[in-house]
Amino acid sequence: MKPLRIYAVAYLIFLYAPIALLPLFAFNDGTIIAFPLQGFTTKWFAELSGNKALLSAVGNSLFIAAMTAIFATLLGICAARAGAMADFPGKRGIIGFVMLPLVLPEIIVATSLLIIMRQVLGLDLSNWTVIAAHVLICMPFSIAILNGAFQNLDPALEEAALDLGENRWSAFRLVILPLVMPGIISSLLISFTISLDEFIIAFFLTGTNPTMPVYIWGLLRFPGQLPVVMALGTILVTLSILLLALAEYFRRRGLARAGVTDSGGFL
């Protein structure tokens, strides 16, 4: 028992200590990232808000994340719905194929996408190429979440709506959609978060306007800018935690509504 506990504590420190350092140095009054701390300041945050290039990178990232969330979730809804319906030939194979990006190394995905988009399709790199790639890697998460939401539904609910005079589409809109809505919101938030801080693919596929992680990476060459990066990192971590917590909240609420016990999920 003892060694296990020590291992667990060490593991948690190893995992979270670096993140805890972010806010520490973001509020530290000194350009050098080292102890001892020099005093409290918020000037890095002020500097952050004055940096035009950075703000535009943030804007890019938010746009890409929002679009990715919407597309990944829409496609996820279709896939999860198909998955929850009766068996069709090759169903397992297809679902497995869609989930594949979950385990593919991102660097491979990024390289092959770059080749396809530039060499094969001849597209110019832009926010949209990043969005396309992000949709690809967010889809498995979206499907995993939505699968849960759709499979927890009693198929008789949809039939009851049909029986009471609705057609397939209105039955979906009036009964299925409200009941899987928590799952949809959860999927939107998770996709958004994944896209927002994704680096490798964005680095390969971004056009002339870098995304925020790519821009931060660029900043690292200038040691004087490090505290600003820390400040930005602090904001990002806070935002990510907030969004993930929200996503989990909605996922659980969905389960409670469907009247089932928790089985899985990411958090």
């Binding site: 009693d154 039939e159 009851a160 029986d163 009471l164 005079g165 609705e166 509504r257």
Partner: protein, 364 residues
């Protein structure tokens, strides 16, 4: 009464599995009709083909004279009460009940009135504002009923609506359902695997086995004149004794029954297949009676010697198993515990009265 639903030679395949085999059925308008059968015999499948959730692989379904081929559930004059009730969990009770009125074109006040009426009809007056997921099983069942009945369908389809309720609640709902059906005059088709429920509630019952209808009749005929050994075994308790037709005189038959000896029965007591092949005699436990001290057989009854093999005391009734000479299986019989009647001990020698008019001759 006129025919409302007619099925002719309805077939249903799930892949290779033959779920419905040539179903012929006529259901009359205003009738309380039950589909009864063991698990997996195709009751739900048959109900769902009538509702339109499953297409048929062959044959035709007509409702009110119209062929239902290709007509989706929302355009059929049927409504369904699902086994799981399928109450919409995100809506209130009133919103659930009003769901089917969305396309009715009624004004808001008319809708509200209809909802109130429907809820009162099922005994849920004042429950409209409750959240649907916070209801008990019995209440959900009532909401499902109100939601289906508010559309005034020609046919209400009920798939094992009482199976999720406890015994007491189930018996109460049986009575309420019968009353409700008489009140609204809508044709009810009830699916159940509970023979008692079917007998209590129905005007007519179709007993199904393996995708086929074994017998279709009113409850009394079904009970007293089962059409086959299978039906007889499925409905209530039945004693079976090996038998042989000694003489077939057309209107009556002379039988040689194991343990009971020779006896003459009416032709109406025998099924057609029993008269041509191997046969058994069926006797209901309540048609047999122990003759206690000082009791004499009634007119027409015959008497045999028996030994008590097993006694089960139920308060109002006592169930006996008795051995009769020449038969290995004991006979089951039940006696009312009227005042002055003792409960016999195992091993007691006694006499049992039986009535030739109560037996049925079945193939098998």
């Amino acid at each position: 009464m006129s025919t409302l639903i007619s099925l002719s030679q309805v077939e249903k395949y799930y892949g290779d599995y033959h779920a419905l085999r040539g179903i012929d059925l006529e259901i009359r308008s205003g009738e309380f009709f039950s589909l009864l059968g063991p698990s997996g015999c195709g009751k739900t499948t048959l109900l769902r083909t009538i509702a339109g959730f499953e297409g048929v692989s062959g044959g035709a379904i007509r409702i009110d004279g119209k062929d239902m081929a290709g007509v989706p559930p929302n355009l059929r004059p049927t409504n369904m009460v699902f086994q799981s009730y399928a109450i919409f969990p995100h809506l209130s009770v009133a919103e659930n009940v009003a769901f089917g009125l969305r396309r009715s074109g009624l004004s808001k006040t008319d809708k509200a009135r209809a909802v109130t009426e429907a809820l009162e009809m099922v005994g849920l007056g004042g429950f409209g504002k409750r959240a649907a997921h916070a209801l008990s099983g019995g209440q959900r069942q009532r909401v499902a009923l109100a939601r289906a009945l508010i559309l005034k369908p020609k046919v209400l389809l009920l798939d094992e609506p009482l199976s999720a309720l406890d015994k007491k609640m189930r018996e109460q709902m049986q009575v309420e359902l019968i009353k409700l059906q008489r009140q609204v005059g809508i044709t009810f088709i009830l699916v159940t695997h509970d023979q008692e429920e079917a007998l209590v509630m129905s005007d007519r019952i179709a007993v199904m086995f393996d995708g086929e209808i074994g017998q279709m009749a009113d409850p009394e005929t079904l009970y007293r004149r089962p059409a086959s050994r299978r039906v007889a075994e499925f409905i209530g308790q039945m004693n079976f004794l090996q038998a042989r037709i000694v003489d077939d005189a057309g209107a009556s038959l002379m039988l040689e029954v194991a343990g009971l000896g020779r006896t003459r029965v009416e032709a109406s007591q025998a099924t057609a297949d029993a008269r041509t092949g191997a046969c058994v005699v069926g006797l209901r436990p309540e048609t047999l009676g122990i003759l206690f001290e000082g009791e004499a057989p009634r007119l027409g009854q015959e008497v045999i010697d028996a030994v008590v093999d097993e006694v089960v005391y139920y308060g109002d009734m006592t169930y006996y198993h008795v051995h009769i000479p020449g038969v290995a299986e004991p006979l089951k019989l039940s006696m009312k515990n009227i005042t002055g009647r003792p409960v016999l001990d195992i091993g007691t020698s006694t006499r049992v009265a039986w009535d030739p008019r109560a037996l049925v001759l079945l193939g098998g």
